[in-house]
Amino acid sequence: MDQFTINLLFVGASFALYIGIAIWARAGSTSEFYAAGRGVHPVTNGMATAADWMSAASFISMAGLIAFTGYDNSTFLMGWTGGYVLLALLLAPYLRKFGKFTVSEFIGDRFYSQTARIVAVICLIVASVTYVIGQMTGVGVAFGRFLEVSNTTGLLIGAGVVFAYAVFGGMKGVTYTQVAQYCVLITAYTIPAIFISLQLTGTPVPALGLFGDTASGEPLLTKLDAIVTELGFNEYTTHHSNTLNMVLFTLSLMIGTAGLPHVIMRFFTVPKVSDARWSAGWALVFIALLYLTAPAVGAMARLNISEMMWPNGGIDGGAVSVEEIDNDPRYDWMATWQKTGLLDWEDKNGDGKIQYYNDKSESMQALAEEKGWVGNELTKFNRDILVLANPEIANLPGWVIGLVAAGGLAAALSTAAGLLLAISSAVSHDLIKGAINPQISEKGELLSARIAMAVAIVVATWLGLNPPGFAAQTVALAFGLAAASIFPALMMGIFSTRINNTGAVAGMLAGLVVTLVYIFLHKGWLFIPGTNSFTDADPLLGPIKSTSFGAIGAMVNFGVAYVVAGMTKETPQEIKDLVESVRIPRGAGVAQDH
């Protein structure tokens, strides 16, 4: 059986499973559609949250970004897990006690203002749509590879699948499907990592293998540092990027995690306030299984790739030849990935070999002159392909490759579905039922939810054709937006009785607008290429890249809210009482619709 058929089998079988579960658990009422009837156990909920949370960015993109940068991209690891501490301590139990269905409902009630609710809906939609763009990028890479078509075709097919699948279920269908998707994605991520860790370090636990020794007795990271510096790249384990930007970026990801509506919604679905606290912990347990493995996947893949391009012990042994790439089965993965347009090489100096090195490094330029090289010949290596190509690079059996295909798609689909659900409930429940037409029937509400999903996916697909970065980078922008708008409003709503309606609205708008403008200045207006005035290589404000700006946006939000609240009318007593009651678990009943 050829690889193509194996991939189709694995992907097909996993899809059949998800769709089966979605049909079995189909949501009948609006309450089930939004919050799964609140009957979900904390461990189950944690697992579903993990699947919801770990998207194409975590599964497909992150290890690749770590692999090619090293220590500096530890920001993704700390940022995307540290947010759960904020979520567990500052938001989840209180929002569960409040007991409504959506994030904007809390903001609307706490800040006793329809405007606040609508502004929250806008913030939520902007952040979620940006997030879906990142998912579509990942889906495009995955489908492109496994159906052996171009990236664009892959993206269009993926969009169709995501749509068909997300309109089906609502939260109830999505919760149980996501448990299945978690199992698929974690198996798919870990199995190749275990194989590779065994090959390189003899340790079956990749997280330990990262700090283990290779067969020669030399630590893996020492060996990796040696080979990448020989090729003229930055040493893997040392700090090269700007420290301020690194701190702000990590902080943005953390705050953003705690501000993303589709994750927060998850904590509405547990039966009790105490369960909301445990749920956040369980979610992080399941997330950590992947996140502790990811840095090992990155480092080991970087070592494997470097050694493949220089198969005879570094530069002195000579580069891999074009003939080997064409004929040696160990290099088959290069030809298959070349088809997607995401990997490419070119024998520029016509010596029959492919030299992979950093042609921007001055010492390498001197060496290249001496050796007759005319530039790096591994001309294209999209970071997003690394995890998917990894089992092929390590020459693992065909079924592992098929499994990774299914896992990558599970990650992208589960998150896209969760986000679409958050978008659709914001539109139908908060905007239409909450503001425009409170008399809408339950049926009409469900229909408008599904229409909102369709519109969101079309917009995200269209923008995903020209993504503003690799999947994880686009997703990082979404986090910045959530960090700057939603999180501060929620936190101030719980921890401060001083912030009133005007303060909250002004804060959210200021945070969102300033962050959005900063992002658009660097990534193009509405992410349209060529309309940007700055680049992240040379940002507007010192070293602060657009992906790191969310932390600043959040500070603007807090600051503006405090100043404006100080100048306007005090919060009324009944709202202060509401805040007091949210702080105490006692009396948390079943949530009510209104």
Binding site: S74, V85, L220, L221, A288, P585, R586
Partner: protein, 94 residues
């Protein structure tokens, strides 16, 4: 009537104590949260460079794995302590 108002005053007092205890726990937890990630993982890494871990230093370990493990401990510790506090102050859900 008089009884009822002392009762509610007592409840309000207890609720206040509960909230203060909660805030204290949050401050301590967040201080540790920042120390292991922004501290050990990034800003204080040079100070930890003397302690070597498998081919690199302790700061690298904190940035890539250690901070995640500490986050887990923080969340479970918080959940456990808060659920105990709920019972202690009589504010838990029936």
């Amino acid at each position: 009537m008089a009884d009822q108002s002392t009762n509610s005053a007592q409840t309000a007092e207890a609720d206040k104590g509960y909230w203060q205890a909660n805030l204290r726990l949050i401050y301590i937890s967040l201080a540790i949260w920042a120390l292991v990630s922004f501290g050990f993982g990034i800003l204080l890494r040079p100070l930890l460079s003397g302690i070597s871990v498998g081919g690199t230093d302790l700061g690298f370990w904190f940035a890539q794995q250690g901070s995640i493990l500490v986050f887990l401990v923080l969340i479970f510790n918080y959940a456990w302590r808060m659920n105990k506090l709920d019972a202690e102050y009589g504010v838990d859900e029936e």
